[in-house]
Symmetry: C2
Subunit: 367 residues, 2 copies
Amino acid sequence: MAVTISDVAHAAGVSKGAVSYALNNQPGVSDATRGRILQVAKELGWKPSLRAKGLSSAKAYALGLVVARDPKLLGTDPFFPAFIAGIETTLAEHDYTLVLSVATAPGAEERAYRKLADGGRVDGVILTDVRHNDSRIGLLRELKLPAVTLNRPDSDSPFPAVSMDDTDGITAAVEHLLALGHIRIGHVGGAQEYIHGRSRRRAWEAAMAAAGLAVDLFAEADFTALGGVAATAELLRRPDRPTAIVYANDLMATSGQSFAQSQGLSVPGDLSITGYDNAEFTQYLNPPLTTIATDPMRWGRVAAQALLDQLNGTHSGHDTELQAPSLLVRASTGPAPSPTTKPAPKQAKKHTNPSQIPTGTSTKESQ
Amino acid sequence: MAVTISDVAHAAGVSKGAVSYALNNQPGVSDATRGRILQVAKELGWKPSLRAKGLSSAKAYALGLVVARDPKLLGTDPFFPAFIAGIETTLAEHDYTLVLSVATAPGAEERAYRKLADGGRVDGVILTDVRHNDSRIGLLRELKLPAVTLNRPDSDSPFPAVSMDDTDGITAAVEHLLALGHIRIGHVGGAQEYIHGRSRRRAWEAAMAAAGLAVDLFAEADFTALGGVAATAELLRRPDRPTAIVYANDLMATSGQSFAQSQGLSVPGDLSITGYDNAEFTQYLNPPLTTIATDPMRWGRVAAQALLDQLNGTHSGHDTELQAPSLLVRASTGPAPSPTTKPAPKQAKKHTNPSQIPTGTSTKESQ
DNA sequence: TCCCTCAGCTGAACCGGTTTAGTAGAGTCT
DNA sequence: AGACTCTACTAAACCGGTTCAGCTGAGGGA
């Protein structure tokens, strides 16, 4: 076994208690003694055992994150890796670690939270992908697990929220398209089960209404590439099809753009497209995607800090509002086609993907 | 505080020891008593504290994973989420958890391993992205941290490896292109610092050599989209430019394809392209990408199991070889252009992305 | 009947820290 | 000088489990 506090105490000629005081910068030892103890501890290479520390102080020194997602779609969402990197940035400064749980099977999500809570594996959790009437709020309450939510749940929640408004970004996207002369601006929404799916839709509706336009060109999808294709196909089949589509995330925008092109439409000549998230790959698309640049890393950093503050009892109790993401105009948006040149969708080009046949699957995406 | 083992012992009228024996299915209690204890424990809702358990048994009941990556590129790699989901699948059955550490800053990687080892936060780690002469092998040895590596390191390693050969897939890709009549088949390799970057390159070289072809059409990139563009641009500038390019991963293939198209080349008319990984989004590209379908989830599952076996002392000591991934032919590969119709690269189309200017950045990617 | 064995259980030590209660000794005040 | 206060420290309890040594009583064998 490694060197323990007793070894250090013995070597320094003091008691265990003195070593503990010295290490934690607590009063109870003179500066001289403290220095000597620290010196000895260093020489011996003593690393206090987190297990023992945790046992006596009733802390786990770990935060939890449960990601619920269909395994096949896990790799598609650029949100989480960056978000986790942000969390890590904060945790690196406070010797906490992150316990990550991926729940793929149905029912696994609740089990995952229970697993984290039960043995006291974590001191608190960060709740992402908040849903309409999210059942996890009650679950965490029952488990007495401190938490922080990403965005404020629409049901009553005792947990502080760290929010990033998505209204501004969507509004900016719609206004950008209006300025380009578009009138028929559709919206491919994410699963309305998620509050960020809802808020983005509402933002689109509000911006359209503000311009005196109808909000009929809506298709609900599920934040997945496949769902984006299906919803895009649906909108393009409409008699008075949109000349621009605002997507609720980049993945759907990407597959939607690809689908439109495979149907012979030019982007942005016939159809303008905007995404949401500014995923790295969107700038390498052809054309590069106009999107809304969020900052998941910062979100992670702030959320982790909020949770730590809450655990220390130093949290203000107020929600934190992060800076709203802004529109990033690239080449997938352009002037509305003039009414005289309104091409009927041509025959699909040779590269149409058989797997792009629109069907309705249901899966998830992050904020 | 929650209910403890003493509460259960008292309620069941036995000693703490008996409760411990009963809970862990160890001899020392009669079946009748065991049943009664378990019953009482259930009624009281007793969840043994992992902290206490860990302290006495000197285990952390956690595995560690350190992901070293540039924060901006973190979201681009579909490997990790699926891989982690695989790990989770295994851990769900053995009440272990996963501690994830993301190291973005240089030097943070080593700190992360030390942090995991020092307080005894984890019982072992899974080593991904193995590098040439990987310094982490020595580090883990020094830290006395059990580990499992993904693929066998090229330096001497005491740790069991879980390998997935990438030779077969690359070979299949080259042979597929040869069968389509291609002669000038290039390779955009990943960072050669990584052993999987090297092995893929060697596989391409071997397959070309087997067909009696030269291996001059090589460009090293770094597994990133930007690097893929730069390397593609370089290859396309060659006097006798390739009619097909085998990429070491999907991300580079995607950005390379996009770049080629923006230069006026048709894919696969003028240039055939193959990727590696079968990332979800590749099937929604235009054209959908021919790629090599790996199974990161399975890899994670098996690696976690191998590490657990090692911790239990039940590991065979032999490396595990997973089934090699296979070629998935989609529409980005086609017959080689006939020698008579060899178009010079046309002027870039209007959507060429300014940010696609090839520069040399250096970053990383997973297996 | 006596001795032995062994299943079934208890009590206590232990893991490595934190924290509380207590104490020795120096300094201060009257 | 005696009472009092502080500082600096120690000893021991404690966190909640595991595990080891030892005890007890029932059953078997001679």
